[in-house]
Every structure is written in C-alpha cells, then in structure tokens.
C-alpha cells in the first residue's frame, strides 16, 4: 500500500521522470508562493478526481469515460477557482489563466485513466497524494531556483509582522534576471532533468 504513495514522489515523479503537466510548472514558478498555491490546487483536483473516478468506475460507461472524467476534473477545477478567487484573490490574480488550465494538466487525466479507474478508493487516494506531493516538490525546487537567482527573494506567506518576503543579500540588488523570464524556466528544467538522468544512471551503475 505504501508503495502507491511513495512511487509518485521519486520513482515516477510526474515532472522529472514522466515529464507531464509542464505548462503550469514553468509558468507559475517565478515565485515560491505561486508554486505553493498551484500545488495546493493540483493536489485538491487530483485527490477529488481520483476519488470520484474510482468510486464511479462501475457506473461510468467505458465508451464515454474520457468526457465523464473531464467533467469531474473540470468541476473540481472550477471549485478551486471559486475558492481561490474568494479567499486568496491576489494569488488567484498572479496564477491567472493557469488555474483553469489545471483541467488539461495531463497528470490528472493520466492518473484517472492509468490508475483510479481500476483501483480501490483507498489506493487511489494514496496514489493522488503521492503524485501530488511529487508534483509539489518538483515545483518548489524549480521556483526556489528561479526566484532566488532571478529576483533575489523568497516569497512565502506573510505571518504577523513578517512580510513574507525573504531577501537574499547581494542577489536582491543584482539578480540574474534571465531566470525569472520564460527562457530561464526552460533552461532550469532542462538542466534539472539532465541532473536526474545522470543521478539515476549513477545510482543504477552502483547497485
């Protein structure tokens, strides 16, 4: 059972190993707070769609399963949109069009089709959590690299008197701006993927 959970984090990490659902990863990773918000949205939708697809697997006719899955996913995405707009409007604004685009995030439809439709609810929940956390870790890593190098800051939640922005000395005055731009995002993910390739081969050679 535990394997369903951990596989998404390392062995089948949706971003670095399977390379799915990249648009939001690259687009919202300019700030750590955006990455956290996007991850929360994706985990919620993934969890919801996996639970419902697994629950309704005997009810949904096989021929129209994809449209049915899309309806389920889109409903959860709309709920995320509404809740985010009502309770975190500034986050909703900075994530922009990428919130509704969670609908076409291949990870979610992919998990429904590859896992939830043939597994129990419990296993599907674990699968969703694992994949969601794997997605979150990857997104956090990319956004940390991009925000620290590209803007010289780390933006998280404001708590009490703390404004939520950590400034990195030196870099905040002279940031390497290209990391904040679209080109920087593509370069960062290219190098990270190469690093993961190298690492898994290195580990494979040792064992």
């Amino acid at each position: 059972m535990l394997k369903e959970f951990t596989k998404g984090i390392f062995k089948e990490n949706p971003i670095f190993v399977i390379v799915l659902g990249l648009c939001p990863v690259l687009a919202v990773s300019t700030k750590v707070i955006n990455a956290i918000g996007m991850s929360a949205g994706v985990i919620f939708v993934l969890l919801g769609s996996n639970i419902f697809v697994s629950m309704l697997k005997n009810y949904i006719p096989d021929k129209v399963r994809i449209p049915a899955y899309i309806v389920i996913i889109a409903s959860f995405v709309t709920i995320v949109q509404m809740v985010m707009e009502a309770y975190a409007p500034s986050l909703y604004k900075s994530l922009g069009v990428y919130v509704p685009l969670i609908v076409v995030n291949c990870i979610i439809l992919g998990r429904a089709e590859a896992f939830a439709k043939k597994n129990t609810i419990k296993a599907s929940i674990l699968d969703a959590l694992g994949m969601g956390i794997g997605f979150t870790l990857a997104l956090l890593l990319i956004s940390l690299i991009r925000e620290v190098l590209g803007a010289g800051t780390i933006t998280i939640f404001p708590i009490g008197s703390f404004s939520g922005v950590i400034k990195i000395p030196v870099l905040v005055d002279e940031p390497i701006r290209v990391f904040g731009l679209s080109a920087g995002a593509l370069l960062v993910i290219g190098f990270l993927k190469a690093f993961f390739n190298w690492y898994s081969e290195f580990k494979g050679a040792r064992s």
């Binding site: 390379v19 687009a27 709309t78 509704p100 731009l181 080109a183 993927k193």
Partner: protein, 196 residues
C-alpha cells in the same frame, strides 16, 4: 488593437510556447522530426482558430445571457473536446489525404493547453468574434513556427555529440530556452514602431 497587431503579438511577442508555456507537451514530444512537427502545427492552428471562435460564441451568446459564466471552464473543455471529434469526422469524410496527415494528432489536441488557453485569453481580453478568431489563428501560427524551428534544430542535433544525461528531453528544453531568449528580441516596441 488592429488585427495585424493581434497577429504580431501572438506569433512573435507572446508566442504561446516560448513565452506562455502553453502547448509545451507536444512541443517537446512531437518535435523529433520535421514531418510530424508540421502535421501537429497545422492541426493545432486549425483547431485553435475554430475553437477560439466557437468558445467566444458559446460564452457571449449562452453563458453570459444565462448568467452562468461560472460554468466557463467545464463548458469550454467540453466544447473543445466535441469540436475536435467533429473536426476529425469532417476531415475523415472530406479529405482522406488530409486525415492521413493530421488524423493521428487530432485526439492529442483536446488536452493541449494551448487550445483551452486561447479560449480563456480571448474572453479575458474581451475580444470580439473576429478578433477571437484571428487571435486563435495567430497563436496557432506561433505554435507552428516554434515547433517547426524546434524540429529543424533537433534534426541537426542528431548529428552532434551531446553529453549523455542531456540526450533526448533535456537538450530539447535547453534548446527551447535559447529559442525563448532569441524571441525576446520581439517586444512591444516592435509593434509600436511598426503600426504605432
């Protein structure tokens, strides 16, 4: 904004792939050879232009009058899915040759975020019907341009020595990053100078 302005914006300045990361999966996945890249590019352009117009009609004539714009996301994705099916059937009947060229890419387009993306962006920018259509078409052309350039570069890369961990997907991302840098030369100033 004039129509030329919209075209220049979506093809060069806000290129969907290189600037907005929309449609990145096929950009990396289907750009290994020029032939499939062209097929995918044309299929996406075609669907994007029609989808942008159709979702505009659905939004303006159905969702807004009924005051149910909160169903926007769910409606748009269903309209696009149905549209792709319909386009596939029409092409299959009218032109088997075209179907042979584009057919295998069509089912992949439903989950291409570029198509859903242009639908949202057209509504967000409050375009009229023709502007939506032009924006969809231009964004598709931008996609075609980027994927065509990418596939041409990747064909050449096949003959180069690349460090092992970079082979395949990583080098494609790095190439995309360098292309995005080059595309930064197109900015709003270009538009202002060209059409004022």
């Amino acid at each position: 904004m004039t129509y030329i302005g919209i075209i220049i914006t979506f093809v060069f300045i806000n290129n969907f792939i290189l600037n907005q990361f929309l449609g990145l999966c096929p950009f990396i996945g289907v750009s290994k050879n020029i032939e499939s890249a062209v097929g995918m590019g044309f299929a996406v352009t075609f669907v994007m232009a029609i989808a942008s117009l159709t979702t505009w009609v659905v939004y303006t004539w159905i969702l807004v009058p009924l005051n149910i714009t909160f169903l926007q996301t769910i409606t748009f994705i269903l309209v696009i899915a149905a549209l792709v099916q319909f386009v596939e059937m029409v092409i299959q009947n009218i032109s088997p040759a075209l179907y042979k060229a584009l057919g295998i890419y069509l089912p992949l387009i439903t989950t291409n975020c570029a198509v859903l993306g242009i639908a949202f962006i057209s509504v967000q920018k409050r375009y009229n019907a023709l502007e939506s259509f032009v924006a969809g078409f231009a964004a598709g052309l931008g996609f075609l341009l980027a994927i065509l350039l990418m596939s041409a570069i990747r064909t050449k890369l096949d003959f180069e020595w690349i460090p092992k961990p970079f082979r395949g997907i990583p080098i494609a991302f790095v190439t995309g990053g360098l292309m995005a840098l080059a595309f930064m030369a197109f900015d709003k100033a270009l538009l202002t100078n060209l059409i004022g």
